[in-house]
Symmetry: C2
Subunit: 238 residues, 2 copies
């Protein structure tokens, strides 16, 4: 597991606790160790521990209760794509298969790109990939992604299909999502999307446009997705 050399302690704590929750070491309803206990374990002080617990709260991993402790919350179901950092913790993780329709390739930005691009972004070009996600064998989510081609050597080599895109970016390129914006519509599938998602053109489909800032300037990620919510739904915690 390649790690940035000087990872802040509070981020180490976030990753550690998150992994233990994901792995089932802590289950729903369990109490995490108290803040003071965590201080001792990690040799730090409460403000640092609290910074980590605060972020885990925002991510929906725990709920904190004054006078009681940090309670591990509902394991995420649904597709979970609305929530930050693309933790595809949805539907049990095993029942989710991702197929790469367009392997990541370098190219120039499309002329009709719906977001404003800085000069630096224009010059850098982008990496494009298209994926189709199956939930329990049903093609449910089609996603096109554009990533500014800055500081991403040998990116196309890595297999983004297996791991989450965001995990790949974090692990191998130290790129992390900082903030973003998403727009949502309900649309009719149309012929192309209906074909991809094995449904009919008149079916209602969730359409989203997302842009995400990262810790690297000008490295912005855009994704356009179509989701068939006939059998599943999109879920999100805040």
């Amino acid at each position: 597991m390649a790690k940035e050399p000087n990872t802040p302690l509070y981020k180490v704590l976030i990753d550690d606790l998150k992994r233990q929750i994901d792995d089932g070491r802590y289950k729903k309803g369990d109490l995490l160790p108290s803040e003071n206990d965590l201080c001792k374990s990690y040799g730090t002080t409460r403000p640092t521990v609290r910074q980590a617990l605060g972020e885990l709260t925002r991510m929906g991993y725990i709920i904190r209760q004054h006078g009681k402790g940090s309670i591990v919350s509902e394991p995420k179901s649904g597709l979970g794509i609305l929530s930050l950092k693309g933790s595809t913790a949805g539907v049990g993780k095993k029942s989710l298969r991702t197929e790469m329709l367009v392997k990541s390739k370098r190219m120039t930005w499309p002329v009709d790109f719906p977001y404003d691009l800085t000069e630096e972004q224009q010059e850098a070009g982008c990496i494009y990939l298209a994926r189709l996600r199956y939930v329990n064998g049903l093609p449910t989510l089609y996603e096109e992604t554009y990533i500014t081609d800055i500081d991403l050597p040998r990116f196309t080599m890595h297999n983004v299909a297996k791991n989450s895109l965001f995990e790949t970016l974090k692990k191998y390129h130290h790129v992390e999502i900082k903030e973003g914006e998403q727009k949502i519509w309900a649309v009719m599938a149309g012929n192309h999307i209906a074909d991809l998602l094995s449904t009919n053109a008149e079916n209602p489909i969730i359409h989203m446009k997302r842009s995400m800032q990262t810790n690297k300037r000008n490295l912005v990620i855009y994704s356009f997705l179509y989701c068939n919510t006939a059998d599943y739904f999109i879920q999100d915690y805040f």
Copy 2:
């Protein structure tokens, strides 16, 4: 403006800065006063100021840049209902009109209510209201809300239509949203919803089910909404 007597300083800061941004005192791209300046103005220290700025960042009001400052970010457009705390800052705020279809009334929970209720909630009953929101004259969003009827004396008296529901709850009942969950589908409007939103039954519509925990135990808010995204869309910052 009724205020809880001992509002934490960092929340005062949040409200102050938020108001100044909403009022246009700080515009998009402007720099907020530096953390040290804010410390002096409010007679406090950086950790407290940073707690406030951190929450404003999460709310999408500012973007913080290492070495530069806190930049006031894009004013929210779209309907903004996906984001927490129902700040209906969407579409300019003036172009949004809310019509009360069912004035808030006390009742027992529906028998087919889709969420699990605790015994305390069952006993308490609920307050029900239904609203229709117009954006620039077009009926765009239909929302049904159920609130656990605990500690809300004279709630039905207040006019929830004008102010946001969440503002009313905060101002008069000291109820604040802590966390929540939302599920999203694309559905066909159907006759009933199509009638309310002045569209046809075959049109694709966003359907959401949301549950929100508050700072008061057992006081949970549920809302079910239908949104026509033909002319507008739902937006969300993270």
